[in-house]
Symmetry: D3
Subunit: 160 residues, 6 copies
């Protein structure tokens, strides 16, 4: 029975992430969404607890999905859970290259962990957390890219 971990920064969580989660949940018996903890190099807008909280709220209707915070290498987290699949969404060429470099490095670090890729829906294929942050910073609406509660939290954060 294949169980998978979907690691990420989720800074912030987007409809694209939710789409990958739904696809992963339909393929695997269990899917743990794993939020990168304090070691994120780029300045996060939300704490790891806040990011995990958004994910929990928007995946609570999916029976076999849970959300955890981790602060090790992703492959070490997969191993610690006793799983052997690492799920990633892939959308663009530059995604592809980065993800492959990461997946090959992970294979070197933990041969038994397989990285598996799915594509989000086309309508979310161009959504990037960085563009979302820029739009909000300029006062634009991101309601097409993130749920309402995320948008509001983003706006509150940028108003400060």
């Amino acid at each position: 029975m294949a169980k998978a971990v979907y690691p990420g920064t989720f800074n912030p969580m987007t409809y694209g992430h939710l789409d990958v989660i739904r696809r992963g949940a339909a393929i695997f018996d269990e899917l743990v969404v794993a939020v990168t903890g304090r070691s994120v190099t780029k300045n996060p807008i939300f704490t790891e607890e806040e990011r995990a909280s958004f994910l929990r709220r928007h995946t609570q209707d999916i029976r076999n999905v849970s959300v955890e915070i981790f602060d090790t290498l992703a492959v070490d987290f997969v191993r610690a859970k006793g799983f052997h699949v690492l799920l990633r969404g892939i959308r663009t060429m530059s995604d592809f290259e980065y993800e492959f470099q990461m997946a090959l490095t992970n294979r070197q670090l933990a041969e038994e962990v397989e990285t598996v890729f799915v594509m989000p829906s086309l309508e979310y294929s161009y959504v990037s957390a960085r563009l979302i942050r820029e739009i909000v910073a300029h006062g634009g609406s991101v309601s097409a890219f993130v749920p309402e509660d995320v948008e509001e939290a983003l706006k509150a954060r940028f108003e400060r």
Copy 2:
């Protein structure tokens, strides 16, 4: 319980294909390797029966793998089996672009079929069926890329 179809031309089967099959078999409960039948546009070296036969011989030790021939759209074959996962190996940028175009088209044709990508081992990442055919045509050895029986059959075919 996720079951997957791995469709392809396998013209000829390489160590790269076998690597993808082993990875797929470790993730999915059942994996059907599906050989494209008579409708292959490019002139095949081996008949679909020959290609399926090589695959069967080299996967007979993997409990949950079987080999079939199909002559419809790949998504229609997945549907006919009652499966909902289509497995593909992905190695290079141009692979990536073609595979994504195909996967998005397939999603349009059969929304319930999910395309899932895995990476073959790095050592097989540059093996291409076309280069293999060229090497054999020039009298070179392809023993690093295909099993011995495939190499011999290729040589016999090009000698004619």
Copy 3:
């Protein structure tokens, strides 16, 4: 007043082409859709007259669009019309590379002709004439990619 030529094979015309035409018609004062004539190297499904006819039928409601057949280099056609803009749709990396090579070659051949690129709607970004032909050849439905009359003509052609 900028006038543009949108050259192509249109083999067959897709919703993606119609989308590019509508976008071009909104930018330029006049847009001539130019169908490559007999010199198409790849075996066309439809004659240039048939291809032009589909385009005319589906663009007849757009005031500033007309359809012509040409059999010279695209830049020579643009020049012969007294225009100086060549319009192209661009969707993917491989599109990009091919289109740039072509545009730079065209600039060498006719410095005064500017190539201008627009993006089709995301929903048409993965539609390829080649995949459409393959799907029809396997008996699949392409109603999401081409208008009904084109699909019917394609099916009739492949049945023969």
Copy 4:
């Protein structure tokens, strides 16, 4: 009558930018070069007023070009002007991917604004503002990439 906005950071303005401006001015009835204001995330060498000033000086001979500073989302600036074309130069694959992601996001934010791409001259295709800043920082000459006044201002800035 199509009017276009060409937004950018212009940090600093290069011959590549001037080339795109000349091409845009030949296609559109009016072209507004729009300099990103205070919200630039990366530390700018020149203030937005300085950057706009270089652009004005080097485009003053082009009748239908003007230069403005903006501090909103680019699409909101296009809308505020009552225009519906956003012009961008595109040179490389990584340009391509970034520009497409941006253009698709902009289309979501303002459906009526069309992003249109042109290619700068081949000789400016590899000029990057970042490389220019690095060369000046190492005491190299950038006279092939920027006008004399820009080079002198850059040198003065790095000497400090």
Copy 5:
């Protein structure tokens, strides 16, 4: 003392090829331009003797360059000469991917042969033998891309 082989189809020889040859001749003590013989899969316009003849005529002023015809794998030709460098020009992303796949395959076939890449001049970076053949077929001028004798031979060939 490093000696190199520059293998290719040269169908036809372009200014881009000559540029790579001059660059290679400045780096290596000896450079053998190696013309692929009868086993070219795509229908050649000129025989291998004709292609070699154009190369010889246009490189006769370069002391350390010679031209040969070969009909084996390129690495086997390098080996037979007792050399260990294979020179290739590289211009575009798709070049890059194909060349890398080829170079990795060659490394597997002959570990001691190193593939070395140089970039042609920017002005030849978009010249492709295929586009040249298309332009001539449509009656266009290719004098910017190939020497006069090659252009005349091309025209004579397409007139037939």
Copy 6:
């Protein structure tokens, strides 16, 4: 007799760098590995002396390789040595694009300096200095990517 400079940050030196150095040393009569000095924009883990020291220790068995520190433009360093070849390893698409932009800029700055590319071994093709730093920061092992002394120095640095 061709002599080459292989410039880089080497932050830290990896097996991939050593592989490129061995390949370069087999092609060129003399190879100077040139370590970027104080002007590195990104915060270096090791001083330029430390980085040069690792390189010297691991290349001391290669007769024609030496290590130097430089703090000018790479092409100016090549010129100052009286060399005319700049060696670079190239592994990925994004490498390719960045390296080409750099090489074209360098050609503009110093026409007589030729940039030559080699590929590292496939097993080092995905090793990135950035990923190595991330792995060490998370307590993972990088013994597959760097020699033991480099790994120990990295760990000591991150413990602080």
